[in-house]
Symmetry: C2
Amino acid sequence: MFSNVKRLLIGPPKKLQQLREERLSKLKALPILSSDALSSVAYGYQAALSEIAFIGVAGLWIGLPIAAVIVLLLIALILSYLQVIRAYPNGGGAYAVASDQFGPIAGLVAGAALLIDYTLTVAVSVSSGIAAITTAYPSLLPWTVPLCVLAIFGIMIMNLRGLNESASIFMWPTYLFIFSIFTLEIVGFVHLSHAGWHYAQTPPFGVIPKEISVLLILRAFASGCSALTGIEAISNATPQFREPTIRNAQKTLLWLGLLLGLMFAGTSYLTYMKGLQVNPNFTLLGMLAQSYFHTGFFFYFIQFTTFAVLILAANTSYSGFPLLAALMARDRFMPRMFELRGDRLGYSNGIIVLSILAIILIVAFNGQTDALIPLYAIGVFLSFTLAQTGLVKRWMKTKPPGWLWRSAINSFGAILSAIVTVVFAVAKFSQGAWIVLVILPLIIYFGVKVRRHYQTIADDLRINITQVKPSPHKTIVIVPIAGINRVVAGTLSYALSVSDQVIAFYVGFDDEAIERMEEKWKQWNTGIRLVTARSQYRSIVRPLMRFLNTVENWEGAPDHIVVAIPQFVTRKWWHNMLHNQTSIMLRTILLYRKDIVVTTVPYHLSD
Amino acid sequence: MFSNVKRLLIGPPKKLQQLREERLSKLKALPILSSDALSSVAYGYQAALSEIAFIGVAGLWIGLPIAAVIVLLLIALILSYLQVIRAYPNGGGAYAVASDQFGPIAGLVAGAALLIDYTLTVAVSVSSGIAAITTAYPSLLPWTVPLCVLAIFGIMIMNLRGLNESASIFMWPTYLFIFSIFTLEIVGFVHLSHAGWHYAQTPPFGVIPKEISVLLILRAFASGCSALTGIEAISNATPQFREPTIRNAQKTLLWLGLLLGLMFAGTSYLTYMKGLQVNPNFTLLGMLAQSYFHTGFFFYFIQFTTFAVLILAANTSYSGFPLLAALMARDRFMPRMFELRGDRLGYSNGIIVLSILAIILIVAFNGQTDALIPLYAIGVFLSFTLAQTGLVKRWMKTKPPGWLWRSAINSFGAILSAIVTVVFAVAKFSQGAWIVLVILPLIIYFGVKVRRHYQTIADDLRINITQVKPSPHKTIVIVPIAGINRVVAGTLSYALSVSDQVIAFYVGFDDEAIERMEEKWKQWNTGIRLVTARSQYRSIVRPLMRFLNTVENWEGAPDHIVVAIPQFVTRKWWHNMLHNQTSIMLRTILLYRKDIVVTTVPYHLSD
């Protein structure tokens, strides 16, 4: 059953050769690797303003200096990451850099921060993308959460099908979004110049409202920093660029910085000039578009390209999270199941886990982007800090030409990132950042425990092949039966095939049923011993367990106690749920509770 | 792992003796059996008014005649159900009556209608209960869906723990709710009389607004009939009453009718006098309470008792649905898994399926009670119709004293119910009733198919015990291995114990790995044959399947092909997810795809 549904949704399996990726041209790399960063324009400034929204119109101007500082931070980070590209042309990101420079535990910290960050990227991008749609169609507003869940489900299915992320179709949302925002900015600035660089509704600048405090400004700044998430993607993907890879990746990163800076600064400035205030039902960017294009075609065009680029941004986490989880599983910090590739060559477990976590976040925070922001960006800036610090250490050690100014740049980047991380953790603590500060150490603790466990097991399992050899032991087979029929006969035949000690085990709910069974068994006359038990409970599990305990304590107990359970093999997939429920239950309980060999013997149903 | 979590949430297993229920006194039966019916007061009149809400104040008076007709319908149904109690003192409800009088297919129709109805009772009651809370605390409004899901989850856990529904604690919500509503009505009518039976805000009566149409009135009536859902509960539970059971059940039903009629009529009238209009953010009942008690203690008291009685009403479906599903499974209309009792003697599968369906409804309809109403009540009135018609047939056949007027009453009840069903299906079709009209036949079709399938299987499995006897066959054991270690040695030992034909099977991802393995195998020198394969995919499933196909087609192929898979038995529950992922995958695929005996051989990890 499951396999058919899966096949339908996910498609036939892929060959390993298909895995080899083509190299990216700059024109293609830019949109594909920068959707996460550029799409932050859709929520970054709004996240900052929503912290000081309660002040009203008088506080709107404070957004501008905050935006200016964020742009400066952007420039510093771009300079830093140009160095990362040079130092790590094989990519790898913060996990690789931190592991490489400071050892596995620092790597684990960076990895945990990134896993949290990837999850929040999905939740924030999807909720913000759906907000773009509900801004265009307010009647959809009550359906925010279902729409978000649907979007995540869609992205998950696409990724389980094995998405070719470098397909040209993925260029379009980003380019169209860039086009949308620049058109909006050009129209806005032309309009603004005609209006004499001042609108009637432009709020006053520079008057400090009495409600403002340093904490509020720091909070607004921290929230606004969510506009910088995703700028590390290009450096992580350096090896995917065409030759000369380093130069091409650096040029692309410069372009990203330029575009992001202009888009963020321009929309923030126009939002201020228009005097727009945060509204729970509409996005600021949508209101800005509407103030220039009303509800004309271009307004809807902007909303849809915003939606598309945000979904694409969420999708980038679907390559990042599963790959990182697989790398961490290879290093034994995560369960090995993250290393298993599905039929379609994707890391299915990572994809599914990411989707579940993102859906939990969306539901818990009711699909509200602004409510998710306090959890976001803290992981990003923590991993920025670790990557930059690692780089400084590397420059100090290898001392290449220009290492002094290189480490100066990266030190600056590391210090800035560290400051933002601390500001974020302190200012946002009570708003939700504490959740991250609790979960992050838990992931790290879990990773350490997992690694230790795998190490112990590996030592435990190692054998000296000259000494330890397989050899046969004595076995007994127990066959639970509910009556005498063709399936029971088949299962008993199997039992007789593998052992000369076979016991049929019957559980009756009353004495009469047991007597009838014993009578019938005598008539069948198979030479096989029947053991019966009466159940106080209506379940056959308990009596069977008791019986197995007894057998284990027999004198001269066999080395292997086998329980043989029949399994109906049905012709139609849905017939499966009509059978085998008891055997599934038995199997599950026996697998996890007892030192028992569990055998399922198939029986083919003719219908 | 699962078992520990389960134990924690659900508690230790119960004995069968505990199943026997105590008989109920009237004082206890009334609140416990009528919470579903009485709680309908919380949403019935609002559901009716919301259909004509768009007309505004001018349409408010139309609610009153509709409420009057619903009260008349209530009286007719109470009279009918007094007969049902006399005719079926053993209870059983519409499924039993319809099966008994018209055969299994009519029973299946009634059963399917009731299953839908139970599910909607949970969804409607929970969403309405949470609405009572959000009316009291509007800041919780954005969390409607998460709160509903949490409530359903809580009810599910309670029921999996095995709720003693007749516990005295379950009397309180209903009595407190009755007390609340009557206090509200008394205060209201006293206040109203002081005001000269007219408020300033009382809307005009009797002027027909031009927007009204017959369809709208029918829709409002149909929605209002949701106030009558649940009145069948007492007749279903007749055998639980103390002697004289019939008289006691009938007296209780009369009390239910009286209370429901007074509560529904009184609150509806006051709602009209106060000129209250439907508001998406507040319940009508809550606004009515607030209009008399402002935000004083008694307003919150009413909101909380409303919430409690609605949660209790949702809980009644948790005894109804699993029991009905188990009855239908016993009659082979439903998968047998619904017959399995959990450790705590509840029908766990029914409880879980009901919760999942209710959560899907809540999420799909965004927790909006008024949006769920068009799906509700159609199943109730369909089963009312079937039960009443069955009763008429029974009176005709058995002809007890007074059979003529008895069948007259029930015919009247059947015709009224049938009319409501049709009105509902037609008037509400486009609003959502079509969903029920699609799903109902699907459930019936599914039930028929299931029954036919089980019948075929039973015929197929029957054997002549003098002819068919179990007998041993030839077996071969295949052990998939990923290297040589203690686990592999253990699994091979088991294989050697049950068969003299054992093959180890290794999948390598490149030629080098395969060569290394073959070399090492030669050194181990076990006498067991090693077969290797190279994987184009990174999965070991495909090569194993190919190999199993080959073995099946060997000359003199064995009767049983056994695949032996090691299973790590871990000390700590969470270690389970660190191991066994590959073996779970292999086992699942082999169980459903191939004619293979699957054996799991436990290996105890020391850590």
